[in-house]
Amino acid sequence: MDAKVDSKGASQASWQHDLYDLLRRHDITQFGYVPDAGHAVLIDRSLADPDVYSIALTTEEEGVALAAGADLGGARAVLLMQSSGVGNCINMLSLIKGARFPFLTLVSMRGDFGEGNPWQFAMGQAVTPVLEAMGVIVLRAEHPDEVIEVVGAAITMAFKSGQSVAVLLTQRLIGAKPF
């Protein structure tokens, strides 16, 4: 591990903890995820939090339907996934669009800035057009000091205005994997 990754790792831990606190301040109580290194802090915090449900999914589309069910019952959910998982959600997003469910997802990106694994590019580069084609508004966070502002804006758009919003946590933010 080189020094650049180390320094990125330190600042990453800080914004990820702030991000968890932000989600909890806005009454998000259902955390659905397919395990991913980019969301490790959020996942671990949700597992340790007795006031939330931490729900490991077998495929990301389950988390889209979970969010719809949470809303029907008056609760708020977030879907944490990697960019590859966006492709698994496409038809399920018709549930969100058709019924105008509020929807918030945080997407840790691969196949983008500095990616070293060619397999990741097809889906990574398709994330934004695919989400937008299904009516999801796409926001991006590139730097640690803008994460809270961007996700805060997404929370307002989703849960006050009933929109469907994805925040891409880019590889400039979380660090590109060299493999």
Binding site: T58, G69, L72, G73, A77, G98, R100
Partner: protein, 209 residues
């Protein structure tokens, strides 16, 4: 010239029931559900929406899908966690469940005490022309639910099983799964509102005020 409904009924008549399957879905569902007001209900998009609608009418405590195949079980999980004091009933079909069968594993791990799933298994894709589904060809969805880790599972294939199944979906000590094996006949007719946004608002208004 035959109407589309008549053509569908003819195709249904040609579909083969599995050996030993004797229940008619339209007769079984009222006995199984009983007092429907005791539940918040989520249904699949095809026959299962009709089965439930024929019992409940088009009402606010029911959310029926018109698309998004594979969604009902996970909508049920989100709803069950959001409303722990209500009993949640998911009614779906074999084709719908097969499309997202991993949801059974997700639900088993969380094991909400207030969630019951009924899979109306007619062994066919009735909506698309009565092609055989996997459950006509050896797949047992009760075993899959059990293998996924759902501790309370049963199959209802006879009239005598329905009363036990009716109690089963009301018991509150862990997620439950009922495989309701029915003949491949047309579901009861039911006209419902297909505006998903209206149905969402109606469901939330009925539940949350």
């Amino acid at each position: 010239m035959a109407t589309p409904q008549e053509l569908r009924a003819r195709k249904a008549a040609l579909a083969e029931a599995l050996p030993g399957v004797v229940l008619d879905r339209g007769d079984a569902m009222p006995t199984l559900i009983g007092r429907h007001e005791d539940f918040l209900i989520v249904t699949g998009l095809g026959g299962s929406a009709h089965d439930v609608g024929a019992v409940t009418g088009d009402q606010g405590h029911v959310f029926s899908l018109g698309g998004a195949m594979g969604a009902p079980c996970m909508i049920g999980l989100g709803l069950a966690l959001a409303q722990p004091k209500k009993q949640i009933l998911v009614v779906t079909g074999d084709g719908d469940l097969l499309m997202n069968v991993g949801a059974l594993a997700t639900i088993a791990v969380i094991n909400p005490p207030n969630l019951a799933i009924v899979c109306v298994d007619n062994g066919h894709y009735g909506e698309t022309g009565w092609q055989k589904s996997h459950t006509s060809l050896g797949v047992d969805l009760e075993k899959m639910a059990s293998g996924a880790g759902i501790r309370r599972t049963m199959t209802a294939a006879q009239d005598a099983d329905l009363e036990r199944a009716a109690r089963f979906i009301r018991e509150g000590n862990g997620a439950g799964f009922v495989l309701l094996r029915v003949k491949p006949t047309e579901p009861p007719p039911f006209k419902r509102n297909f505006d998903a946004s209206f149905c969402r608002d109606r469901f939330r208004a009925a539940l949350l005020g």
